[in-house]
Each structure stands twice: as structure tokens, then as C-alpha cells.
Symmetry: C3
Subunit: 157 residues, 3 copies
């Protein structure tokens, strides 16, 4: 058990085995030393978190949704790193999108649900640059979507 | 005629000669081995597809709009690849934005209009990672905008 | 005084010393030769420009807001370049987000406030690829957010 596995266990986080998208896009592409992970929504085996922050979801639910995106990003990173998250040298950039209502603008606090998880699990390697915007609609009504650019050791470009 | 030219012809797709933006941004920049293509909207010589998916455009029209973005991305890739699309080693990442109404969330299906075209034309080199969000407004009311990161052989950084 | 410092002075632009975000994300990450700068909003020491373009802000105010994002991006680039903006070899990509109302679609003209500043200050090195979308809500109600990918000489990956 690696340190990262131990941290995941202590946090009570079980990473799913992510399905590959059933389309002409794929979960991740590595090029020129960086791995680009497709936008991960706030889904899980139980259905995930759908809704609009500030309308039918409160900020705590929004934050939980962003954390789910983080779980799904970690699951994709683990696949890209051939099972070993300690190969993640750095999470370089997150693109965060929150489905939110007209009167809600605490978007960074929502996305911290994802950012915090990455640092809790990966330590300093999880610290990233980020954009954070509130969008009108997300795929299938999920509350949050986050994509990522990650540097992973030992992954051929 | 290359294989790619043949596929474009079979699909009935004619790539336009894209104008450079009349501004301080440019159509594409190559750095560190990757080419970053500016967001391409659903425009064509006939005016393109404007409107809001789920309001005044139906899903099929939205999908056609995304396909137009794909045509325009291919046109920009061809310029960046100095006329030879077979130099495109990999489409690395698409950022997809759909102008959609409050009750529409089938955003991935819309963007498949772009994703599918890239794979039809480029084969496996066209398979990409992707983010997909529904936004409130797009430039000049166009229905879809997609930007891209592409790895192209033989293009100096 | 470098040429760039002289241009900043001639433009009347004073770059702030940017605070680091108080969160698990950081202002900038460099990997594989490129520096990824977190989304910069239209803030300044006086409070910045908040509001919705086409609703309570007119286009000129929106353009000013985008220019503020450009000032904040330059401030972050200067930190990343250890104080010397002449090390910026190229602004590679901007991701521009405008908080706008339902009837406003002149999004590119708004973002030119940022694009133009970068070229006024950095010359050809400031010419970039760009995406431009209108979003529903931005952090804390700021009118514009722009993130950037920049190539900077002499910055270790």
C-alpha cells in the first residue's frame, strides 16, 4: 500500500474504475509530456450530484459535487499512471465549471471541493493553477465539471 | 490526393481557407510541440448556424453546428500543417462550448458533431480528450464554439 | 528600465504585486516549458469591475474589465518571469470568459481589451490564440475572467 493509497483509505475515498466514453473522444490523451484528462462531471455509482448551485443545491452540496469531480479525476489519473498515483508529478491546471443560478457567485469556494481533495491525496503534487467559471448548463444536468492537465512520470507521449 | 483528402471528398466536406482574425489574437500558436487553435465558431460562407440549442435550434441543428466547428478546426489545422493534414499526429484536446437554453443538457451529444467529424477525417489521430459545457452566450450568437490543442509533425515550436 | 517597463509607463499601467490565492490552488504552474496562469478576474486595488455586460455594464466598461484581467495576467507573468517581462517569449493561449446578459453577443470585442493590452506591452510576443465565451456567472460577480498559457524563457519546468 503506497502513502497515497493510505491517504485515500483514511479519507474514505474509493476510486472507481472509470468507463471509457462511448464516443469518439477518449478519457485522456498524453502528448508532449502532459496528460489531458477529459472533463469529469459530478457522477458516481449512485447517480452523482445533479442540479444548480444557488437554486436547488446549496453551497455544501455544490462543494460535494466538486469533490466527486476530484474523485473521478483521480480515478482517470490512476489509469493514466498505470495504477500508481505516486507517478503524478504535478497537477498542472484544472478547468472548473459550476452550473449555477443567477444570484450565485461563490464559484471558487465550490471548486475548492475538488482542489482540496487533490492536495489531501497527492500533497504538493496536487497544487494546481485553475480557472473557475459559472456556466448555464452542464452535461446531463450534473452540478460541476472539471477537466485537468497533469504531468505523470513514465508515461510515453 | 492523400487518404485524408479522399475522405474529405467522400464526406462532401470542403475546407475553407480561413481568414486570420482581425485583432491582436491569431488563429493558432505553436509552442513546445503543440499547436493551440483559437475557438472556432459554427460559421461558414453562408452565414453558419446561430441560435440557442433547446430554444430556437433543435438537437440535430446543434449537432450540425458542432460539425461546422470541426470543419473550421480542420481548416486551421491544414494551415498550421502547411497544407498536409496527414501531419496531424494527434488531436489532443477539444474545449467545447454550446449555447443552450435552460432546459437543455444533452451537451455531449451536440459536441459529438465535431468529435465524430475529426475521427471520420483523421482516423485514430482524431481521437481526443474533451471538455463539454453549456454556456449562456457565444460570439455573435453562433450556436457552438470549439477550440483545440493539436500535435502536428514538422511544425517548429 | 526595459523597453517593456517603458511601454507600461507610457500606457499608465502599474502592475500590482499579486497575492497568492488563499487556497489549494496556486497562481501559476510551469510544466514542460509552459506556464499556466490561473484565471484572473477584473479586480484591482479599488475593487475592480463587477457586473454583467449588456445588463448593468456597457461594452466600454466590459472592455475596461478585460483590460484589468490583462493587467493582472501581466503581473502574474512578471512574477513567473522573476521580475523581467522581456523573458516572455510568447503568450500562447488565452481563455476568455465574459459575464454577459441574454442579449449580448459582442464577446470578442470585450476580450480585445485584454488582447490589445498584451500586444501593446509585449509586442509580437503578446499575440496569442484565444477562446471567447459568454458565461452566466463569474467568481464574486466580476465581469471578466481570463486565464493564460505562456512560454517564458529561463523558467525551470
Amino acid at each position: 500500500m503506497t502513502d497515497i493509497d493510505a491517504r485515500l483509505a483514511a479519507l474514505g475515498v474509493t476510486l472507481p474504475t472509470p468507463p471509457n466514453p462511448v464516443a469518439n473522444y477518449v478519457a485522456a490523451v498524453t502528448a508532449c509530456g502532459l496528460t489531458y484528462i477529459s472533463g469529469q462531471v459530478s457522477s458516481d455509482a449512485g447517480g452523482g450530484i445533479r442540479g444548480t448551485v444557488g437554486v436547488d443545491l446549496d453551497p455544501a452540496q455544490g462543494r460535494d459535487a466538486a469533490r466527486l469531480c476530484g474523485v473521478n479525476l483521480l480515478a482517470q489519473m490512476r489509469v493514466a499512471a498505470r495504477g500508481d498515483l505516486s507517478r503524478v508529478r504535478r497537477v498542472v491546471k484544472l478547468g472548473g465549471f459550476v452550473q449555477c443560478g443567477p444570484d450565485f457567485s461563490e464559484i471558487p469556494a465550490i471548486l475548492n471541493g475538488c482542489s482540496d481533495l487533490l492536495v489531501e491525496v497527492l500533497g504538493d503534487a496536487g497544487r494546481h493553477s485553475r480557472s473557475a467559471v459559472g456556466v448555464y448548463r452542464l452535461p446531463l444536468g450534473f452540478a460541476v465539471e472539471v477537466d485537468a492537465i497533469v504531468e505523470i512520470d513514465g508515461v510515453a507521449a
